[in-house]
């Protein structure tokens, strides 16, 4: 089977301010014996069970090809499990249809290593884009975008195009875009992978601040230094299996303490 399985409800939620709705003791993300196989590359995940609680910060680590990105794709339902079930905020991978997934993603913030910004639009337009295409009411749209940019420390760069910004700043714009719909989870797939040390620290601190305000964060990273320093819950994957989860082994450190 797999690595250790965390207790229901996970850890680390204590003290976090209440956010959107209640998710009960079962957590906002729940993987139940999830396997994912691709026709060409074979098994990406095998028998993964885990729970992420509301307001939790979780590192996802492991070597390249260990299944981190697949696991995150299953969370935002870009992929469906071959076996088992993924439940995110009450939406089940077994029953969700296109519209359910679109609505779910409006409550998830997703950030990638390569930022994925629209090059021909300013920072503010990139953030506004996420509101516009999800049919948010026009009134207050600009104020919301400005607030998100302020939150990531880019209040004065709203009119800059991505190419006029540094890598760290571009990632901040991507995070502002992820935050603008008030998500309950921020999913970050190696968000610091393209950044230098200083920018990495800045982005990580920003993610901690966002988490402190009540948003759960699931961050995939290779950066062992970062993991060691921060003592947060860490799940390690290897060959598609959970081989370590600090929530189930508090003695190993981390365990969700913030």
């Amino acid at each position: 089977m797999t690595g250790p399985r965390p207790a229901d409800g996970g850890t680390g939620a204590a003290g976090a301010p209440s956010h959107t709705g209640t998710f009960g003791a079962s957590g906002i993300i729940r993987f139940s014996s999830v396997a994912k196989e691709y026709p060409r590359t074979g098994t990406a995940l095998a028998g993964v069970s885990l729970v992420v609680a509301k307001g939790e910060f979780v590192f996802l680590t492991g070597p390249s090809g260990s299944g981190k990105s697949t696991l995150l794709k299953l969370v935002y339902m870009e992929e469906r499990p071959s076996r088992g079930e993924v439940r995110v905020s009450g939406v089940s991978s077994s029953t969700a249809r296109g519209g359910d997934i679109a609505r779910l993603r409006r409550k998830l913030g997703i950030v990638f290593q390569d930022f994925r910004l629209l090059e021909d639009r300013t920072a503010e337009q990139n953030v506004l884009f996420a509101l516009e295409v999800t049919g948010a009411p026009r009134a207050g749209m600009h104020a919301k975008a400005a607030r998100a940019l302020t939150q990531v420390g880019l209040a004065s760069k709203g009119t800059s195009l991505p190419r006029e910004l540094s890598g760290g700043e571009q990632q901040r714009v991507a995070i502002a875009r992820a935050l603008v719909n008030d998500p309950f989870v921020l999913i970050a797939d190696e968000p610091t992978g393209n950044l230098d040390d200083r920018a990495t620290r800045g982005i990580f601190q920003l993610l901690r601040d966002i988490n402190a305000a009540g948003t759960a964060v699931v961050m995939a990273t290779h950066d062992m230094e970062l993991i060691k320093r921060s003592e947060l819950r860490t799940i390690e994957l290897n060959r598609g299996q959970v081989v370590f989860d600090s929530a189930a082994d508090p003695a190993a450190g981390g365990g969700g303490a913030r």
Partner: protein
Amino acid sequence: MRLALRESARSFGRAPLLSALSVVTIGFSLFAFGLFGLVALNIRNTVRLIEERVEIRAFLIDGTPVDVAAVAVGDIGSFPEVARAEFVSKEQALTLARRELREFREEFDASVLPASIDVRLKDGFRDPQTVNAVAARLRSYPFVDEVRYGDEWVEKVYRLRNIATITGLVLGLAFAAVSVIIIGATIRMTVLARSREIAIMRMVGATDSFIRSPFLIEGFAKGILGGAMALLLTWGAHRLFTQMVLETQFFSPRVAVAGVLVGGLIGALGSALSVGRHLREVT
């Protein structure tokens, strides 16, 4: 909707050359479609004119009394297929012949031409079978000497009309299919150019129908523009042909507008197929 309109306008502005190319391509394929439509329309009109002249002439035996012929005319006139039956006396036949064949005016005299009953059929009853059936009934009158209706000719006209209709339909559908494929391909280039944007839209939770709408508007707009261009070209070709070769008929305004709208629909369809394919591929 406002956003969808803005996004499609943005797409036109961002790739003006590609957009112009799509419109021109659509325009030319619809132009080919329009030209063929025009040919089919004129063939049909001509055939209808010829059809209207289909006439059955029953020559009467010399000496048939006029009152007997008059009763027969009334009788034949009440056949459901017959529009009009008319008695033509020997004298009338002579006058007619002299008028139609001026150069032989002096050659005719009243004894040469027999009296006849001329029969015209109703619209929709001019097919070879009906014409044959009516001719057979006329022949059954004892005082009818001979029935002439150019049977070969009737069959040819009828066949020509059928061929024109079927060819028009087949080629029309083929051109429409080609247009859909061309529009699909040009929209696909736009879709690929905007695949990053589509991926981001999906990531932040836009629904597929929302993602599709700017492309549908774009396809529809390109189809309408292409259709308008095709209409202008077809009209130009029609004017030129009329001036230089022979008078032809153009589409009625209603058909012309419908044609341009069909262009829009073909554009939207090509676009929907193209975006649908892309959305399925990335899922």
